[in-house]
Symmetry: C2
Subunit: 283 residues, 2 copies
């Protein structure tokens, strides 16, 4: 028997795929994206299932991207969050299907009435996540990242290219995480723009901090391989601006993210602190 649930017309959840999905999702991580969705929604007094589910959806999408990025034909990584990557713990085909199913699940979670009673909110959440993660977002950014390695021909990366790549690969989803909270909170256009501005600055700060950590931290501390960009001859902002310049940029981004929240009162304190966490973190 392939499955323990094979009554006519019923679906089955293949145990191997379930277990591998759990491996991909439940192995730790900072859960920064759900944190941002939940805290942004709280600014508008919205708490509970809705923000939790939207946060889960973004994390599921993030975990799908990690399972695929780690594959041998992509970044070829064995270690993630201090544990074997999905294709190491299972196999390549399973890791591809895990990513595929996690992406689907992210959209399923958003479109479910439990996420928001108003279908217009659910539909906007789906649209926002799709725009942040597809061709013009995360997936497009990953293709640019592979291009930057020179695998599709020689490439000369300027500062604008590196910034575009990072905004697409990681910035778009981090920004959407904050925006998801604004959508759930039915924020007006001005508040939504403010939070997008905060999300963009935070996402950019996150990425510069990541480049600095990749240069300075140990694989043991980070729970993943380090120094990859250097190995592959890929330019990062640390290369282009120098370590001092990168630290300076980080400080500027922190200030920009914090000032984006000026219109909010003490209820936004935790989002202000999150910016410092993002740049001062050691993992």
């Amino acid at each position: 028997m392939l499955s323990d649930k094979a009554a006519p017309g019923e679906i089955a959840r293949p145990p191997r795929l379930m277990a591998a999905m759990r491996h991909a999702v439940l192995g730790g991580g900072k859960r920064l994206r759900p944190f941002l969705a939940i805290e942004a929604a709280r600014l508008f007094g919205v708490e509970g299932q809705g923000p939790l589910r939207a946060g889960c959806a973004v994390e599921l999408l993030h975990c799908y991207s990690l399972a695929h990025d780690d594959l041998p034909s992509m970044d070829d990584d064995d270690l993630r969050r201090g544990r074997p990557t999905v294709h190491k713990a299972y196999d390549e085909a399973t890791a591809i299907l895990v990513g595929d199913a996690l992406q689907t699940l992210a959209f399923e979670v958003l479109a479910d009435p439990a996420t928001a009673a108003d279908p217009a909110i659910r539909s906007d959440l789906v649209l926002g996540l799709a725009r942040a993660s597809g061709l013009g977002g995360m997936v497009g950014g990953q293709l640019l990242d592979l291009t930057a390695e020179g695998r599709y021909g020689a490439v000369n990366m300027g500062e604008a290219d590196v910034r575009l790549l990072q905004m697409m690969k990681t910035g778009a989803i981090l920004t959407f995480s904050v925006e998801a909270g604004a959508l759930l909170g039915q924020a007006d256009a001005a508040a939504r723009r403010t939070l997008v501005e905060y999300g963009r600055a935070l996402g950019a700060a996150f990425q510069v901090a990541d480049d600095i950590l990749d240069r300075e931290a140990s694989p043991e501390a980070l729970g993943k391989r380090t120094g990859k960009d250097q190995e592959k001859g890929k330019a990062t902002l640390v290369d282009l601006l120098g370590m001092d310049g990168a630290r300076h940029e980080c400080r500027q981004l922190v200030a920009r993210a914090e000032s984006a929240l000026d219109g909010f009162g003490p209820e936004a304190q935790i989002l202000r602190e999150a910016v410092r966490f993002v740049v001062e973190r050691q993992v």
Copy 2:
């Protein structure tokens, strides 16, 4: 320069990824799924952009699954619709990202207001597609299919297993294609059940016909490799029921699909004819 569109804050659509997505989607195919969505919506007097976009979304999802299923670590196919598969025409990493971006695009198309003015319809379309394609649908079915090859240990496939596998792997999305039309047409519960019954019978007939074709047709006629299931020792309904039994089952399914449409008049004629096309096709 990585991209020709790198103004600050703008997104880019990496040309290599765009071209590979077009290769995956615009290379022919029967377009059976969009046909079903469009014709089912027409039963309720709904035509134009909405059904066209919903049909496109299902086809985009179908094409993503083909790009991933053809990968070396999955079914390892070089030929699809008479042309090189995506990883042959480009490379493995690009083929993975193509599938990822096509899946995202499918949900983006459904959630866009151009698909239906009523956000409840858009949200239901997203939910329906997600349920048909994830862990308990197409992706779960593909994992069962790999399991059936014996790659995760010896397995003894019975008739119920083969039926479950096929219902998940191809039946769920075919059924959803019809259901999408019912959702766009705001069909009442009875009409929706009727169309789901039609979709299930049609999907099952499609799969038995596929198994028969895989045994009898040439790779040249089909535009893809044939006889794969036999090579891999995978049981199909042709093995379990014999060729005569499979043809008999096909006829029964045709009758069931046709009679599911009894409540509709001449406006359902093209859907009745579609069942015969599905079982009599030579490609």
